[in-house]
C-alpha cells in the first residue's frame, strides 16, 4: 500500500566519506564521527562487561566452585558492574546518539565546543583503558560501589580503577557541559524550548545531572584513593571517620546516575513511540516536565540505598517519601507513551518491538524500585537478588532495550542502510524472552533470601539460578545475532534513502547519512516536533519499508 519510490541511492558525499583515512577520524571535530567513534568504543566495553556477566552466570550455575574461585568471582562482578555502569551505560546513549543527533535535531552545524567533544572522547578512552588495566593487574574486588572501609583495605589494586573512573567522570562532565551549552545557544532560529524534540530534552536533563553529580563522585573517589595511598583516613572508623558519610557522598552521585542511565533511554522511546505510532505524543508537556522533574527530584532520594545501614530513622523516612515522588514522573511517562498509541498507525517493526519491551520491563523494574523504596520491605530485599533483578530490569530491560531501539531506529540515519527487518524483529523477541528468563527468577531468588555478591550459595537456591543462567545464554546468543546482521548491513544492507521510516523527527530533514555540514541549506522545521496530523508538511522522501 505504500507509495512506491524509485530505489533510493546513497548520497554521493556524506560525513563518512567526506574525508578519508584513520587520521581524519582520530582528529575529527565532527560530532557525527565522534558519535560513531563512541559507538565503537562502547560496543567494545559492552562486550567486555557482557563477558563478565556470562562468567558470573556460569559460576552461579552450581553451588560451590563451578568455573572460578571466590576471589575471581568477586573480581568478576566488580568489573562487570564498573564496566557496565561507567564504561557502557552512563555514556551509552548521550555520547553516541546524543552526539550524533542533538545538533541535527536542533538544526545546528555542530555542538557548541567541537574540540571539547573530541577531548571528552579521548578522556573516555584513557579512563577506560586505565580501568581495564586493572584486569591485567589482577582485578578489583570491591563491588562497583567501592564501599569503605573494605575498599581501603582490600589487597587488590583498586587505584587504577578509581582513577580510571575519575577520568571517565571528567569525560562525562565535559559532554554534559557541551550538550547544555549547545541546547541553550545553538538552537535554530525560531526553535523555542517547547518545540525541542523530546530526545533533546532528555539529553538536556541528563546533562544537568552529569554536570552536577559527577564532581561529587570524583571527589569521593579521590578521597578513597588518598586513603589508600597516604592513609588520610577520612572514612576510616579506626580514625574516627564515618563509613556512612562515604555512602552518602557516593549515592549522592550514584542515585542521580541511574537517571543518567534511563533518561536518554526515555528520550529515545519518546521519539520512537511517536515515529512508529505516527502520532503526536498525547502530552508533550508532560513528557518534558517529567524529564526535568526526574533530573531534579532524582537528586533527593539517594538515602534509599542505606535503609539498613544504620542511617537515622527520620532520614530513612524522608528518603523513602522522596523516592516515591521521583517515581511518579516515570509513571507519568509510561502512561503517556501507552496512550500515545491511541488512534495511531502502529508499525510493529524492530525498533517498536524494543519499545514495547522497554515499556513493559520498565514498568516492572520501576515498580520493584518502588517496592524497595518502601522502608520496611527493603529490610528483606536490601542487597538480595531482588535488588539485582530490579536494576537489571531497568538497566538491561529498559535502558539497553532503548539503546537497541535507538540503534535500530537510527542505524539507517547513521550509515544510510537498512538491516533485514524480519531478522530484527525475531531477534528482538528472542532478546526480550531471554531477558525475562534471566532476570525474572532473580526476583524470586531475592524473595527466598539469596544475597547478592555471593560466589557460593546454599543448595536450595540452585534451580532458579539454573534458569537464570539459561536465560543469559539466550541473551548472549541474541546479541551475537544482532552483531552479525548489523555488521553485515553496514556493507550489504539495502540503501535506506533519506527517511526510511517516514518519520517526522527533525533529524530526518537531512540526508542519511548526513553530509559533513549536517544540512545542505539552513534547515527549516515547519511544524512542531512529532506532528503527524498535517498532510502539507509531509517531509518524508525515500523508501517506505
Amino acid at each position: 500500500m505504500s507509495f512506491e519510490v524509485a530505489e533510493p541511492a546513497m548520497p554521493r558525499e556524506h560525513y563518512l566519506n567526506a574525508r578519508r583515512g584513520a587520521w581524519s577520524w582520530l582528529t575529527t571535530h565532527d560530532h557525527k564521527r565522534i558519535g560513531v567513534m563512541f559507538l565503537v568504543a562502547l560496543l567494545c566495553t559492552f562486550l567486555l562487561g557482557g563477558m563478565f556477566a556470562l562468567a558470573l552466570r556460569l559460576e552461579l550455575l552450581t553451588p560451590g566452585e563451578t568455573v572460578m574461585g571466590r576471589l575471581a568471582y568477586n573480581r568478576a562482578f566488580t568489573l562487570h558492574g564498573v564496566i557496565m555502569v561507567w564504561l557502557f551505560l552512563i555514556p551509552s546513549i548521550p555520547t553516541t546518539f546524543g552526539n550524533f543527533l542533538l545538533p541535527l535535531m536542533i538544526g545546528a552545524r555542530d555542538v557548541a565546543f567541537p574540540r571539547l567533544n573530541l577531548a571528552s572522547f579521548y578522556l573516555f578512552v584513557v579512563g577506560a583503558v586505565m580501568t581495564v588495566w586493572a584486569i591485567l593487574e589482577g582485578g578489583v574486588d570491591t563491588g562497583w560501589t567501592f564501599y569503605t572501609p573494605y575498599s581501603t583495605a582490600t589487597g587488590t589494586d583498586v587505584l587504577p580503577v578509581l582513577m580510571g573512573v575519575f577520568v571517565v567522570g571528567f569525560s562525562t562532565i565535559l559532554s554534559g557541559l557541551n550538550f547544555i551549552t549547545t541546547v541553550h545557544t545553538m538552537r535554530a532560529p525560531g526553535m523555542g524550548w517547547m518545540r525541542l524534540p523530546l530526545f533533546v530534552w532528555a539529553i538536556y536533563g541528563t546533562s544537568i545531572i552529569q554536570v552536577l553529580a559527577t564532581p561529587v563522585l570524583g571527589m569521593v573517589l579521590l578521597l578513597v584513593a588518598l586513603e589508600r595511598v597516604v592513609g588520610v583516613g577520612l572514612f576510616d572508623p579506626a580514625r574516627g571517620g564515618d563509613p556512612l558519610l562515604y555512602q552518602h557522598l557516593f549515592w549522592f552521585y550514584s542515585h542521580p546516575a541511574v537517571y543518567i542511565m534511563i533518561l536518554p533511554g526515555m528520550g529515545v522511546i519518546s521519539e520512537a513511540v511517536s515515529a512508529f505510532c505516527r502520532k503526536n505524543p498525547i502530552s508533550y508537556r508532560v513528557l518534558v516536565w517529567s524529564t526535568v522533574g526526574i533530573a531534579f527530584v532524582g537528586f533527593l532520594t539517594w538515602g534509599h540505598h542505606m535503609f539498613v545501614s544504620g542511617q537515622s530513622v527520620l532520614g530513612a523516612g524522608t528518603f523513602s517519601i522522596l523516592s516515591m515522588l521521583v517515581a511518579i514522573f516515570t509513571a507519568l511517562k509510561i502512561f503517556t507513551w501507552t496512550s500515545t498509541m491511541y488512534r495511531g498507525s502502529i508499525w510493529m517493526c524492530t525498533p517498536f518491538t524494543y519499545v514495547l519491551g522497554f515499556i513493559f520491563l520498565l514498568f516492572f523494574g520501576g515498580m520493584s524500585g518502588v517496592a524497595v523504596a518502601v522502608t520496611s520491605a527493603d529490610l528483606h530485599w536490601h542487597d538480595t537478588y531482588f535488588v539485582v533483578a530490579h536494576f537489571h530490569f531497568i538497566m538491561v530491560g529498559a535502558s539497553l532495550m532503548a539503546f537497541l531501539a535507538g540503534l535500530h531506529y537510527w542505524f539507517p540515519k547513521m550509515f544510510g542502510r537498512c538491516y533485514p527487518e524480519g531478522l530484527g524483529v525475531g531477534t528482538a523477541v528472542l532478546i526480550i524472552f531471554g531477558f525475562i528468563t534471566t532476570f525474572l527468577p532473580q526476583f524470586l531468588l531475592g524473595n527466598m533470601g539469596m544475597p547478592r555478591r555471593y560466589a557460593d550459595y546454599p543448595e536450595h537456591f540452585q534451580p532458579l539460578h539454573v534458569a537464570s543462567t539459561a536465560g543469559a545464554s539466550l541473551l548472549g546468543f541474541g546479541f551475537l545475532i544482532i552483531a552479525a546482521y548489523l555488521g553485515w548491513s553496514l556493507r550489504h544492507g539495502r540503501v535506506a534513502g533519506r527517511n526510511p521510516w517516514g518519520s517526522r523527527g527533525y533529524e530526518w530533514h537531512s540526508d542519511s547519512p548526513p553530509p559533513e555540514a549536517n544540512f545542505h541549506e539552513p534547515p527549516v522545521f515547519p511544524y512542531r516536533p512529532h506532528d503527524y496530523s498535517r498532510p502539507d508538511l509531509q517531509p518524508e522522501v525515500g523508501h517506505a519499508a
Binding site: 574516627g240 571517620g241 558519610l245 545542505h520
Partner: protein, 216 residues
C-alpha cells in the same frame, strides 16, 4: 521534496555560530557550567567538613586555635587583591589598554605565588608540629577525638584548593603572555574573561575555607 543527490553544503564550514555575540554567550555559559561542577566538587568536601564538625564539635571548635590565623588572613587579603587585579585587567582590556592588562595579570600571578608561598610556610609549620593528615597525625598539643580529622580535612581541602591555584596560575600566565603580545582587543577578549572567572572561583573557594578553618 528534495532530490536525493547531494548538493554542496551551504552552511559555512568554519563557523557554526552565527556571530561573535552568541559565540561569547556560549563560551560564558560553558564556563559557568564548568564552575558549577567545580562548586559541586568542593561541596563534597564541605559536606564532609559539616558532618565531622557536627560529630566532633569540640575538636573543630578548638582546631582553629592551632591554626596560623595570621597567615590565613594574610592569604585571604592576597587572594582578594589578586582577584581585584584580574578584574581590573579585564576592564583595562575593554578600554583597549593591553599592556596595562598584561601588567595587572602578572601582578595577580605574583600574588598567586605569594599565596602558595605563605601556604607552603604554613604547611611546613604544621608538618613540623606533626599536624599531618590521617595516619601521620602526631600533634601533641592537640590530641582529642576528631582532632586528626580536623587536620585531615584541612590538608585535603587546602590541598585541593592549592591544586586549583596552581592551575589558575597556569591560566593567568598564558593570559598575561597573550595580553602582552596583543592578542586581545576591545572586541575580542573572551578567553581573558573566562580565565579571570576561573581565578575568581579559586578566590571564592578560599573565601569559604578561610572562615571555616581559621575563624570559627
Amino acid at each position: 521534496m528534495r532530490p536525493e543527490a547531494s548538493l554542496p553544503p551551504v552552511v559555512p564550514q568554519a563557523g557554526h555560530f552565527g556571530d561573535e555575540a552568541s559565540r561569547q554567550d556560549a563560551a560564558h555559559l560553558g564556563m559557568w557550567i564548568f564552575i558549577a561542577s567545580e562548586v559541586m566538587l568542593f561541596t563534597a568536601l564541605f559536606t564532609a567538613y559539616a558532618f565531622y564538625r557536627y560529630a566532633y564539635p569540640d575538636a573543630f571548635h578548638q582546631g582553629r586555635l592551632h591554626m596560623e590565623v595570621g597567615l590565613g588572613t594574610l592569604n585571604t587579603y592576597v587572594l582578594v587583591t589578586s582577584s581585584i587585579l584580574v578584574a581590573l585587567a579585564i576592564s583595562a582590556v575593554r578600554a583597549g589598554r593591553d599592556l596595562r592588562a598584561g601588567g595587572l595579570l602578572l601582578g595577580a600571578l605574583a600574588l598567586g605565588v605569594v599565596f602558595l608561598f605563605i601556604k607552603g610556610a604554613e604547611y611546613t609549620q604544621h608538618a613540623h608540629d606533626g599536624a599531618l593528615p590521617g595516619a601521620w597525625y602526631d600533634f601533641e598539643a592537640f590530641s582529642m577525638p576528631g582532632a586528626s580529622l580536623f587536620f585531615t580535612l584541612y590538608w585535603v581541602m587546602t590541598g585541593v584548593h592549592a591544586v586549583h591555584v596552581l592551575v589558575g596560575m597556569g591560566v593567568l600566565s598564558t593570559l598575561a603572555v597573550r595580553a602582552l603580545s596583543g592578542h586581545f582587543s576591545v572586541a575580542y577578549h573572551t578567553p581573558l574573561e573566562l580565565g579571570g572567572m576561573y581565578w575568581h572561583l579559586v578566590d571564592i573557594v578560599w573565601l569559604f575555607l578561610w572562615p571555616l578553618l581559621y575563624l570559627a
